[in-house]
Symmetry: C2
DNA sequence: TCGAGTACCGGATCGTTGATCCGGTCACTC
DNA sequence: GAGTGACCGGATCAACGATCCGGTACTCGA
């Protein structure tokens, strides 16, 4: 290469310069398309038009990539304005939370790592603040926030598991399996697994249970 | 080797003959001691005094081992006699369910795979049957069972995450992290994370919420 | 009694992975 | 125009899941 003008800038070789944000964004795309099992530093690097070792300049380990990718999807969760009916605020937040997880089913397999990213913390702060405004305090506030979060996490995992790629196939196999053993599992065998909108209904049902319980708890120690 | 007596039987070489059950039992022990990240077919085989390739005669893939190990721990969950107060039966089952998961923290990282083993199904059948006896039916029964199961699963994951080996260290780091950013997360920063028995209390609190909600739902359509 | 079949085992090997070493290349400063 | 530091990547390492293929010992029928 003789001439500057014929020579691409170093940082232009592979599109915009590599950055932690670009890596994470591409990781999310890769995870969405192929799932957590196929996220490799090499494959990720290839998609970014770079070498795999280069990623390690921006990121310490692969786990870092996963942690960052996981937190990233939570910025899809709209944080309610707040100040309205606390129950509706909680409902809106948790619905968004569930939806974000389901939009990226791989995320549910990563939930067993500490969620401490800024996006998660912002949503968690809103939940705590809303419960505080509703009248909770101290350990009871923490416990109630956990109850709600845990319910969402569990629901997302369950639904993502049964709606995975092989959806129809796995569900049919499960159904046959149960029906074949209906002597052993009579009640299970006569109740079909959830499909489509029934998942949403089930989620709302459980949320109703929780909020009903929380409301009555609130009434008790407000009355005292 | 000249003599039969000086020659060990093939099946005695490595203690009792290898079987799927022995493999799974050893896998659970290995997982308990070293966690899911360190379970490899080679290490598992070594503990069994055999070659890694041998395991593949008894088991199709490593995932099979994990699925079998996961189902195995659920036989720790005592199934209540049933027929008593349905709320107490549900409570007893779910407490045992949570405890089994926490006894084997690695299990919570595997919950994103379909739970279809005999031990799981037996417990799930009991939950469904108990709710049926309490007055639920159809999709509402399924939804209620999911709500309860999902709560347990989410609770186990959350607790296992924050009580992992590095317990103190991670928790302290999180606390410092939050306190340093208390402008951004005022409510979070003033509420300490749970410790020790507080986890149990929080679990019971959420369970109370759910059962209160379920009870009132039951009253509604029993009255109609 | 013996020979064939079957259940079971493992050394060697393949392709892939996360991670690191160490040597580049370019833009920018003084 | 020499040097500094941000950024990149080829080569390499140990470890992994899985498979091939050739063994070994027990069993059962004739």
């Amino acid at each position: 290469m003789q001439n500057v003008w014929f020579r691409a800038t170093a940082t232009q070789r592979g599109a915009p310069p590599l950055s932690r944000d670009r890596i994470v964004a591409e990781a999310v795309a890769l995870l969405d398309e192929e799932g957590v099992g196929r996220l490799t530093m090499r494959r990720l690097a290839e998609r970014l038009g770079t070498g795999s070792t280069t990623l390690y300049w921006h990121v310490k380990t692969k786990d870092d990539v996963l942690d960052l990718a996981l937190d990233t999807i939570f910025d899809e969760v709209r944080v309610p304005a707040g100040g309205g009916d606390w129950q509706e605020d909680v409902r809106a937040l948790l619905r968004g939370w569930l939806q974000a997880l389901l939009n990226h089913p791989w995320s549910t397999t990563l939930l067993s790592r500490p969620l401490m990213g800024p996006n998660v913390l912002t949503r968690s702060e809103f939940l705590h603040a809303t419960l505080a405004a509703a009248g909770f305090a101290g350990q009871r506030l923490t416990g109630t926030a956990y109850a709600l979060s845990n319910y969402v996490i569990g629901s997302a995992m369950m639904q993502a598991t049964w709606q995975a790629g092989d959806e129809e196939e796995v569900r049919e196999a499960a159904k046959r399996h149960l029906h074949a053993q209906r002597d052993r599992y009579p009640t299970l065998a006569t109740h079909d697994p959830l499909v489509g909108d029934e998942w949403k209904d089930a989620f709302e049902l459980g949320l109703d249970y929780l909020l009903t319980g929380i409301q009555s708890q609130l009434a008790v120690f407000k009355g005292a």
